[in-house]
Chain length 394, copies 2
């Protein structure tokens, strides 16, 4: 009898998106669909940069002339080299330490395959739900939550006891706040002391504006012994629908199996060669074009567009007397619900009175209660219209 995995029973049933979808359907009975403004979604809203589109099409043309078979499971050398050179220029991360993948989501959940089920895991709350759900599916039972509250600056602080694996995301999703050098150093020191591994989700790194926020976790001394960094072309270059990301995994990072040290780099390489056949060739070509002068310019303008909208949105809310955070190093704004409303109450209010869709904080875990997330992945027109409606309400 093929028994199913018992871990599925531990998954929390409260998916918020079907609930949101249902409320939206009801609203559409009274308003035309176009009238509703979606400021919830964490997804790029600009078309693909022209030079990226050109690079992909040209790779497809190549493939229609000469045979291109399986690529290397860790990615083509041209992309691994471009990433190492452009993202880790002064940081001693080599192309061999870069693994190309189809998305941070795939890697940051798949990485748990490398660890014993007995490992304890620290997860920020609120945070991207896949950290927790993948930990549960991987049979990790010892889970510690790190609250991201006003008191902690909306990013986590290191636990007061040893945890083996630490999920971090900075700039943090959903609070939109980035960890500064000092806070990151605290975590690296904690990991060194406790022989922990930090899984550093840097999906929003391209949006950082603050000077005391590093571009990479590897700018922190000692991080290359205890950290893995997950980055993506999704948000920085509008690749969400194309699927391309990478993992920087320094060879120095070690784990222990039966009292012997093992290089995590080698384990991941083995795991990938067994479970993954690499990313689509034309997509990798598109990704590498982001590092050419035209690509840099075009994707840079996209980032600027989103950050201009984030500023506009935040300034508008503050002017209306609202309390909100983030929006300076990422396109997310973490809005404290007014008048002590619960997240869902405020969500309903925004939907009914302004026809504006946000994401209630508890969608990112219990630590999100009392807040909602607004996203600046939008257009200028929609952002302005949203502000108009909000100003009437508050």
């Amino acid at each position: 009898m093929a028994q199913g995995s018992i871990h599925f029973k531990r998954l929390k049933g409260s998916y918020i998106f079907p609930i949101i979808e249902k409320k939206l359907e009801e609203l559409k009975k009274d308003f035309p669909a176009a009238h509703v403004i979606n400021m919830g979604i964490g997804d790029t809203s600009l078309p693909l940069a022209p030079s990226v589109a050109k690079a992909i099409s040209s790779a497809v043309e190549e493939m229609s002339l000469t045979s291109y078979g399986y690529g290397p499971s860790a990615g083509y050398a041209f992309l691994r080299e471009a990433v190492a050179k452009n993202e880790y220029a002064n940081l001693e991360i080599t192309p061999e330490e870069i693994f190309i993948s189809d998305g941070i989501n795939t890697d940051i959940t798949g990485i748990l395959d490398l660890f014993a089920p007995s490992c304890s895991i620290a997860i920020p709350t609120p945070s991207y739900p896949a950290y927790l759900n993948a930990s549960i599916l991987a049979g990790k039972e010892n889970i510690h939550f790190m609250p991201c509250t006003e008191k902690t600056g909306f990013v986590p602080i290191p636990p007061d006891h040893p945890c083996d694996i630490i999920y971090l995301c900075s700039p943090h999703n959903p609070t939109g706040v980035a960890m500064d050098k000092e806070r990151l150093l605290q975590f690296v020191e904690y990991a060194k002391k406790n022989h922990s591994i930090i899984l550093f989700d840097n999906a929003y790194g391209a949006f950082v504006q603050s000077k005391n926020v590093p571009n990479s976790i590897f700018e922190i001394p000692g991080a290359d012994k205890v950290c893995l960094e997950f980055r993506s072309f999704s948000k920085s270059a509008g690749f969400t629908g194309l699927r391309c990301s990478y993992l920087a995994l320094p060879k120095k990072v070690q784990t222990i199996i039966e009292n012997e040290p093992h290089s995590l780099h080698l384990l991941w390489d083995k795991r990938q060669s067994i479970r993954f056949n690499g990313v689509s060739y034309p997509i990798q070509k598109g990704a590498s074009s982001c590092y050419l002068p035209e690509g840099k310019k075009e994707t840079g303008l996209q980032v600027k567009h989103y950050m201009t909208l984030a500023k506009k949105l935040k300034d508008g809310l503050k002017k209306a007397g609202q309390t909100c955070f983030g929006g300076e190093d990422s396109p997310y704004i973490w809005w404290k619900t007014p008048d002590g409303l619960s997240s869902w109450e405020f969500f309903d209010l925004l939907l009914e009175k302004c026809q504006l869709l946000a994401i209630p904080g508890p969608g990112f875990g219990e630590g999100g209660e009392g807040y909602i997330r607004l996203s600046a992945f939008s257009t200028e027109e929609k952002t302005e219209k949203a502000l108009e409606r909000l100003q009437k309400l508050v």
Copy 2:
């Protein structure tokens, strides 16, 4: 202390490809690289079909005009519908039962996440190495091997005791032989009797020529209650470098968790929504173009090309008095080593005397000893040259 997964220690170290690579390097000291003929690789050798390339480029152009964000993790409806309609026309498999993925390899290893570690697994030997390696990494300790010998017709027969999960591949890799309806029915009956689940790898289905070999496992009565079918555009449409495949998972297939039945379809849907963000939009557009009249015609010609070469290769070998199997329903030929040579001895002989690269049978597990695999994923010129050299040798 972050402990690593102990399962990595159970992986067999004998990767054959680095050994082959080394031998090839040595050979290249005496011969120019172009002189060596690679008949080992299980990878398409023709350029991408023109209409597929056109569909991908046109999707990329769309993306450069309008924003395309995250697609559904299970795949776009247009592709799920096209697969259901074209591959499962009379088989009651609905679009909802089709999950689009980036490769059979990803799915056929990832599917083990759904099952308890205590499940016993039956794996053919020889077979595609990922079945065994992924089972080991998933902590499955109770592994039973099903020999594919001359006596069993180079495909497996059902075990004589209950196994929970059965890996099957037909047409089988590496023997190149397909299972007929009768043999498949034996497995389906076995699975029904023992409440087992069959993981049916149909990667080479497009190459089937024999009348008594079904196009899909779901042509076998009762299969939709106990079988999952993994199929791909890789070999049929030259998608190896593009990455697109699908899993047909009927809603009727059930597993048991804590004495309660659970739909495997629901578990996979949950698992995918947590661990996977979908396949690249333009690649899905390319895949769906294979079902349009032009795409069907072009990819059909590619299949015909490979099968013509397989026939030529097999006929040539037989004429030279050699014993070989397969090559009729797949582009692989399973060549019995002459004069009682071991697989590696014969491999060395072919490499030294004919500068011809094959894959030694043990690369696919112990059951492969005494054979080598030749692949017809090649060109007419190379195939003829290979035959010339072989005929001089034997």
